[in-house]
């Protein structure tokens, strides 16, 4: 089954002389359970692409499908609900609420989605345990290391059992040891069949990806030659 599909996806900024093709006619199919890494230099359009795929931005042209739902033409309300219930986001700078504990940060998404407080808490504690932070549940983010904060953010992203988790430079603010923790966690998600799309500058993500796409000037520069050779086989 296809978790994510894009056809002719295009995002332009500016006009005429200042026209920037941030994303240029991209076609993409991400099967359920695939870990896809999209790599490329700063400004190649990879973050914009992630925002289009995750419903954070609307394309200038083209279509995006999440499972069997077309999302680029959805109403704002439907899109907000989709972002809340069906996808998870992980950002470079964690975006945790400073005044909430780890477990409160994780359960917030489930509470907003209408789960009962007790179910939300139970699920949050389970997820914190899964990311190896069961003993940090009541800590505030300020009392956690960078790697631990990112793991809390990943637990939060998993809160509503999303169809796809999108990660934007998830290891960008982390040192070598913390990066290793996050990579292990992504590898674990991959083995459990979680569909994951990561845009990154960090080639170490390739270690846990099923497929690596190199992006250049808003387009895929090096995908076909990777697919089916070294990166596309599930281990």
């Amino acid at each position: 089954m296809t978790a994510l599909r894009a056809r002719g996806l295009t995002k332009r900024y500016g006009s005429d002389n200042t026209l920037v093709r941030a994303v240029d006619e991209i076609d993409l199919d991400v099967p359920t359970g695939q870990t896809l890494a999209i790599m490329g230099p700063s400004g190649c359009g990879k973050s914009t692409l992630l925002h289009l795929l995750g419903g954070l931005q609307r394309p200038t042209r083209g279509e995006v499908w999440l499972a069997d739902r077309r999302i680029d033409t959805m109403s704002e309300r439907a899109l907000a609900r989709l972002r809340r219930d069906d996808v998870g986001f992980v950002f470079q700078s964690f975006h945790l609420m400073d005044e909430l504990t780890a477990v409160e940060n994780v359960e917030l998404a489930a509470l907003l989605a209408g789960r009962s407080p007790s179910r939300a808490r139970k699920r949050a504690l389970y997820l914190l345990d899964r990311v190896g932070l069961a003993d940090r549940a009541t800590h505030l983010p300020s009392a956690l290391s960078g790697g631990q904060r990112q793991r809390v953010a990943i637990a939060r992203a998993l809160s509503n059992e999303p169809l796809v988790v999108f990660a934007d430079e998830p290891t960008g603010n982390l040192d070598s040891a913390a990066t290793l923790e996050v990579l292990r966690l992504f590898d674990d998600l991959r083995l459990h069949g979680q569909t994951l799309v990561v845009v990154t500058h960090d080639a170490r993500i390739a270690a846990v990806a099923d497929r690596v796409i190199a992006m250049r000037d808003g387009a895929f520069a090096d995908d076909n030659r990777l697919v089916g050779t070294v990166y596309d086989g599930r281990r």
Binding site: R184, A203, A206, A207, D217, R225
Partner: protein, 172 residues
């Protein structure tokens, strides 16, 4: 290999185990044949001796290997010399220059091909480093390999940007 014998003489199989321990997952690729061929070569060069142990069959893995005085000197010299593997950057750079100058190939495509190979190696090294069973000391070697490959990738990215810009200029 000489350095692994510096502490004390060892049986061939023991030496193999020492090499494997020191290199961690990177040592797995080394086979017995390579080790014994190298030992034979070192013996010929007068850097090691090997003796058959009484009561044991005369096989390379059951012989006891030891450093000769000149072998010991070689190890001491190796430890103090500052060495750094010669990077093949110059060769690849020349390839790009020659490809572009003679229109023999697209330099950006060469960069893509090179990157695929570096990414493949990086993935293997990083996967090995992710294994929790890796001994922390052997893990340091893997971290070094990963860091260097990442540096190679950064350089390839710089090459890609520069050559892609040149191609755009040439075609406009």
């Amino acid at each position: 290999m000489l350095a692994m014998l510096a502490k004390e003489p060892a049986y061939g199989y023991d030496l193999r185990a020492r090499m494997r321990d020191a290199l961690g997952p990177l040592g797995e690729a080394m086979n017995a044949g390579q080790i014994y061929v190298t030992l034979a070569r070192l013996a010929k060069a007068g850097l090691v001796t090997s003796e058959r142990d009484e009561g044991l069959p005369d096989r390379p893995d059951r012989r006891v290997y030891a450093l000769t005085p000149s072998g010991q000197q070689r190890v001491a010299g190796w430890l103090t010399e500052v060495s750094w593997p010669k990077p093949d950057l110059a060769e690849f750079h020349l390839k790009l220059v020659a490809a572009a100058a003679g229109r023999l190939a697209d330099p950006v495509a060469l960069v893509d091909a090179q990157r695929r190979e570096v990414l493949r190696r990086l993935r293997d090294a990083q996967r090995a480093a992710l294994d929790r069973a890796v001994d922390p000391v052997a893990g340091l070697l893997l971290e070094g390999v990963v860091l260097r490959l990442r540096a190679d990738l950064e350089w390839l990215e710089a090459c890609e940007l520069a050559w892609a810009a040149r191609e755009r200029e040439a075609s406009s």
